[in-house]
């Protein structure tokens, strides 16, 4: 490092190097390798063989890829609608004080304490048509045989619901914190103007939560694009391919079919989507903004 006075006592690159090297070894190097593998035919057994753009050409012709991408986008959109529609009003509602709300909040937040695997296992038991709740409650909502996860129409909805069940408390928490930070003067002014509760909600609360809506939305998008174990445990992508989202398609292609070259191409698609989304996070919301949104928790 230069000995210039302005740099005296300042740490150099060497302070960042260990973290960077560690991150590079287990995250950056594999990223490079996965790109390389996507241009090869590789089954794990025989050495990778360079096949040029074959795997990439296959993407276009693989109906399962189109379906899985479509399912992933669908899952993202449905998750965003469901989770925002519930978490935003709920967070706002829970932002106010009161014993009932505090007790309800405590219950609402319990899923936060469970791992994805635990949630998927719990819902797997709940949705079992013969031995779970689905067989009992199904007939009440018009599903006579309780067949939810084995039905191509309902299985996707079930996945959206279970993922929503898992992440809803988290987003509610974000909205609750953000709602508490809205200056009370705004509401005073609205009251003077004679605005009703709905008007206040639409014209003050929602605009004030704009940043949180973006943050929460981006997180839902990233989370939904990469969600994996809930679907693996709950449906394994089935019935048929009705819930075979992109990350699962990649996993099954690589580790069940041992088509690791093609799986790598699928992984690169995930990688590109993931990186694009992380750029989006950094650009649109800014990490500093996100840090400040944790205030008031």
């Amino acid at each position: 490092m230069s000995a210039a006075t302005s740099r005296a006592g300042r740490p150099g690159f060497v302070w960042v190097a260990p973290a960077l090297a560690f991150f590079a070894l287990f995250a950056l190097v594999p990223m490079v390798v996965v790109v390389f593998l996507s241009f090869t035919a590789y089954d794990g057994l025989n050495p990778p063989q360079w096949v040029g753009l074959d795997n990439w050409a296959r993407l276009g012709a693989d109906p399962l890829f189109a379906e899985s991408l479509w399912l992933s986008f669908g899952l993202t959109a449905a998750s965003w609608v469901l989770q925002t529609a519930v978490a935003l009003p709920l967070g706002v509602w829970l932002a106010r004080r009161g014993r009932t709300r505090a007790i309800l909040a405590a219950i609402f937040f319990v899923p936060l304490l469970m791992s994805s695997a635990a949630i998927a296992v719990l819902w797997g038991t709940l949705l079992d048509p013969n031995f779970g709740l689905a067989g009992v409650l199904g007939p009440l909502v018009g599903i006579a045989d309780g067949n939810v996860i084995g039905n191509s129409r309902f299985a996707f909805a079930a996945v959206v619901l279970v993922i929503g069940w898992q992440y809803m408390p988290f987003h509610t928490l974000l909205y609750q914190a953000a709602a508490r930070a809205i200056p009370v003067q705004l509401y005073d002014a609205a009251r003077v103007d004679g605005a009703g509760r709905w008007r206040t909600f639409v014209s003050i609360t929602v605009p004030q939560l704009r940043d949180t809506i973006i943050t929460s939305g981006v997180l839902i998008v990233v989370g939904s694009m990469t969600t994996f174990e809930v679907v693996l445990i709950l449906t394994e992508g089935g019935p048929g391919t009705a819930t075979r989202i992109l990350p699962l398609h990649m996993y099954l292609t690589g580790f069940r079919s041992f088509d690791m070259g093609y799986a790598s191409a699928l992984a690169v698609v995930l990688l590109v989507l993931g990186t694009a989304l992380s750029l989006l996070i950094a650009r649109v919301t800014g990490y500093r903004k996100m840090a400040s949104q944790r205030e008031g928790l």
């Binding site: 260990p18 998927a120 719990l122 944790r294 205030e295």
Partner: protein, 302 residues
Amino acid sequence: MITVSTTADRERAVVGGPPPGAGDPRPRRRRRRGFNVLGALGAGGWFVLVAVPLYFLFVTSLRASSAYLAEGPLALPAELTVDNYLRVLGSDFPRYFLNNVLVAAACVAIVLVLALPAAYGIVRSRSRWVARGFSVMLLGLAVPAQAVIVPLYLMVTQLRLYDTLLAVILPTAAFALPLAVVVLTSSLRDIPNELFEAATLDGAGPARTLVSLVLPLARPGLATIGIFTALQAWNGFLFPLVLTQDASVRVLTLGLWDYQGQYGTNVPLITAAVVLSLLPLLVVYLLGRRYLLAGLTAGAGR
């Protein structure tokens, strides 16, 4: 970075309408009632959706398997038993639990040791390379683990780490690192420049500054990223799934999945295992709610 919300904050923050109890002179009751009904219905509906599975989870875990099958899942249990818990605890569960603790502890240690100097370097260094390194970290924020699992699997087998806890620990820590650095960096930026300058005037080099100035002030930030990392490791699934297989190195998440296959239709036993798996976080939640929530929402950067 984490501001403790004071009572004053709480009173200031009233949302969605006037504070409770504040009278509204104008009679706009019809509209208002409509909104309330909607709100209550929505909250009530979601409440049912959250509460029923949780009720099912806790109550079923206390029922005998035979009673569950005979009476059905929703019946009010005639008698409760802790047998399911004893059986789960008598199985491999404690080992899975211990493995999870080891993985989480090691990941936290690695992340704290690497992230603190990195964040300090990023905040204080004038080097262009540091800035570039930081950009790389930022880029890694949302890289999904699935995207690199195939090469990671190959690397781990080549390094002969397959089926060891280290195989889970290293990538888990590496993937928790970018966000840890980012969160810690923004936390260190809040340290006033004057303090650093004073330390330099005292003749402190970077190492002493880190220990005597940065470390004490970074504690809340370290707690946040520690909890965030521990949560990541505790709930991790893909890395253990692909990089280990033996029961001696199995972690809890995979263990739960295993129970589902092993005990199958013995629903009470499975629910007992699920309840046991969430107890540690419940304890953390009760003891340090604020830190846990901060750690959780540090995930807001992922």
